[in-house]
């Protein structure tokens, strides 16, 4: 085993890139859940974003157009969910699942002509002086614009939820939709907007996956990232900054296991007589998700402290 091939600076850089799709999807879902709606279709919206972003970027030659298309695609498909849940009052869990199944299928259908193509390159930002700093430059100033935008979205969501009146109204709708309705707030409209925002964020995350992180289009490429994003929201106990922490944690696990696979860790274990296989290392992100869920949920009072009280409940304007 040669652990010296693992460069901590490159590891951090890889982690931040790997975390960005999760970051977008999770911060969007956080806003949706704060408005009192549980959308389990994150995986479906992400993969639609991935394929729309990839298709638009390769057809136009511009990654920026790709990211916009990814966000638009995610938002568009989230509207199916919104109509079913808010207008037809369907079960949110079942509808979210349907959205995931539908999204995975539709994305494979759209993406068929795009397998095996390379997307247009997305340039990293080069800040004079800062990007050229030895370690610091590599750690913080050598990413693409969308990655910085992701961190900015977290800050903006925090600002919106905690420091603006509109954010307070959104939280009120999530805590007690009947009271918010009595005060004259348009509950359904606010939830439509939140779901659309969540869809756009998930779409952006998906587009980042297919345009920067991988970068390629393959069927089912999200591989559970949408579900991990849902777990990150629980991990974050519905606080924006902890979403950033959660996304980086999961990004770190993913990158670390990939680096371990490359470092000859497995053949080292095998030389000790342990029947190690690469698949066991690949399980790490999923197992860590479960572990984190258990650790966070075990303390029931803390887990529920920030959970919106009306999460997952249907709203009808009575009377």
């Amino acid at each position: 085993m040669d652990l010296s091939t693992i460069d901590p600076v490159a590891l951090f850089a890889g982690l931040v890139v790997a975390a960005t799709p999760l970051l977008f999807a999770a911060i969007g879902e956080l806003v949706v859940e704060k408005s009192g709606v549980l959308n389990l279709g994150v995986e479906g919206m992400m993969i639609i974003g991935a394929v729309c972003g990839f298709a638009a970027a390769s057809n136009s030659g511009s990654p920026v157009v790709g990211f916009l298309a990814g966000a638009a695609g995610g938002a568009a498909i989230s509207m199916i969910f919104a109509v079913l849940v808010l207008v037809f009052l369907s079960n949110q869990v079942a509808t979210g699942l349907a959205l995931t199944l539908f999204g995975l299928g539709l994305a494979a259908l759209i993406g068929q002509p795009y397998t095996g193509i390379k997307p247009p390159d997305f340039e990293e930002v080069h800040v004079p002086v800062l990007s050229d700093l030895p370690v610091l430059g590599e750690l913080f100033f050598q990413y693409d614009l969308v990655l910085y935008f992701g961190v900015a979205v977290v800050a903006l969501v925090w600002l919106f939820l905690n420091r603006t009146r509109a954010g307070l109204v959104l939280r009120a709708v999530g805590e007690n939709h009947d009271a918010a309705h009595s005060l004259g707030y348009p509950v359904v409209l606010i939830r439509f907007a939140a779901i659309g925002f969540g869809g756009a964020c998930a779409g952006l995350g998906g587009a980042y996956l297919s345009l920067v992180r991988v970068p390629q289009w393959t069927e089912g490429m999200t591989a559970g990232a949408g579900w991990i994003a849902l777990a990150i929201v629980v991990f974050a106990t519905w606080k924006p900054w902890r979403v950033l922490l959660g996304a980086w944690l999961f990004g770190g696990v993913t990158i670390l296991q990939l680096n371990l696979q490359a470092s000859g860790f497995l053949s080292w274990l095998q030389s000790l007589g342990i029947p190690a296989q690469a698949q066991y290392l690949s399980m790490a992100p999923y197992l860590v998700t479960i572990l984190v869920l258990v650790l966070i949920s075990a303390d029931r009072t803390r887990a529920r402290l920030n959970a919106p009280a009306c999460l997952g409940r249907a709203f009808t304007a009575a009377g």
Binding site: L89, T95, L97, L101, F102, G103, G105, Q277, Y286, V294
Partner: protein
């Protein structure tokens, strides 16, 4: 003016009609989708939904594909009624298949009538134990069973990959990621000549009957319904949420595991990397399409099996990608959930009351 008002009692007629309406709407929307893709919609719908019914081979395949869907959906329906969401049936199906195969491969040179029952038992246990992970994490640590069971699907799929390229790999298989072929006494007996219809079909039918009795004539079925519809009343009547969570997950996991074992010991005949084909997820739709009732699930399983077979035919006959099936399935569930509104609410005319 029209408005929605809750129905005082759910109407049996509407409840029966909504799945039919959903099927019709799905065909319509699917037709539009194919037209957009540049395929003749009439030919596509005919190939997927109608033609398989008139072909004897397709008809027998229908039973083979419907068997796992019905078994898994039956198990899921109990949990769904009680508000316990096992989304990871696909993983339990895989683990059941692995456990059953491990038994078959352990006795790869020993034949006996006892082998199949032993494999079935291993399959059920494999699936049920895998489902115990979300059950225990839910009851002990309050961890969300939706997310845990789903994460375990990915873990199970990776485990399958590790098994077929490691311990369970065919020693004479030129390093292909698959196991030895099972010998005859480890294969499910066939029911019909010249087809692949196996005894698993009968087991699925039996399971429907048992589930029907359990749901309508047994205290367990009553408690499941009570927990789902009136959790507080259930608590007062002494129904333990924790015990129900464990039982419902064990039931759905066991049936999913059995379905996985039937797949490897039936049509496939060996453990392969391609074991998971999404039955565990499609079964969720089957459960809803069947209105969470056993008889309904039987019919819904046959309908969804049709989309699998028709989808396969369409793949080579019309060049429609395999993924089109899951688009259909997603649409199905969308329309079904939307149509469901009419079972719980009705459209009423608002009358101006005279003062």
């Amino acid at each position: 003016m029209l408005r929605l008002e809750p129905r005082p009692n759910s109407s049996a007629l509407v409840e029966m009609l909504t799945p039919v309406v959903a099927v019709a709407l799905t065909m319509l929307a699917g037709g539009i989708l194919f037209a957009v893709l540049g395929k003749d919609p009439i030919v596509a719908i005919d190939t997927i939904f109608i033609a398989p019914l008139f072909d004897p081979f397709s008809r027998s395949e229908l039973l083979i594909k419907a068997t796992p869907l019905i078994l898994i959906a039956l198990g899921l329906s109990f949990g769904f009624r009680a508000g316990i969401w096992n989304i990871g049936a696909e993983g339990q199906y895989v683990m059941g298949g692995i456990a059953g195969s491990a038994v078959a491969l352990a006795f790869w040179n020993v034949e006996g009538i006892w082998l199949l029952p032993l494999m079935a038992l291993a399959g059920i246990l494999g699936g049920a134990l895998w489902a115990m992970i979300p059950a225990i994490l839910k009851t002990r640590f309050n961890a969300n069973e939706i997310l845990v069971s789903l994460m375990l699907v990915y873990v199970a799929t990776l485990f399958l990959s590790a098994m077929v390229s490691g311990p369970l790999r065919d020693p004479q298989g030129f390093n292909f990621p698959q196991s030895r072929l099972f010998h005859d006494s480890a294969r499910l007996p066939l029911l019909l000549e010249n087809s692949r219809v196996h005894v698993g079909v009968l087991v699925a039918l039996l399971a429907v009957a048992v589930a029907q009795v359990l749901l309508t004539r047994h205290l367990f079925g009553f408690n499941v319904k009570l927990l789902g519809e009136a959790p507080r009343a259930a608590a007062f009547s002494g129904v333990s949420v924790k015990r129900m969570t464990v039982v419902c997950l064990a039931l759905s996991g066991g049936l999913a595991g059995l379905a996985g074992l039937f797949e490897v010991a039936g049509p496939v005949g060996q453990l392969q990397l391609s074991l998971p084909v999404g039955y565990g997820f499609t079964a969720i739709i089957v459960a809803f399409l069947g209105r969470l009732s056993p008889i309904g699930i039987l019919l819904a399983g046959l309908v969804m099996a049709l989309t699998y077979i028709g989808g396969e035919t369409a793949q080579f006959a019309l060049g429609i990608p395999k993924a089109a099936i899951s688009v259909f399935q997603g649409l199905f569930l969308f329309f079904l959930l939307a149509a469901d509104l009419m079972t719980r609410y009705r459209i009423a005319r608002i009358r101006r009351e005279a003062r």
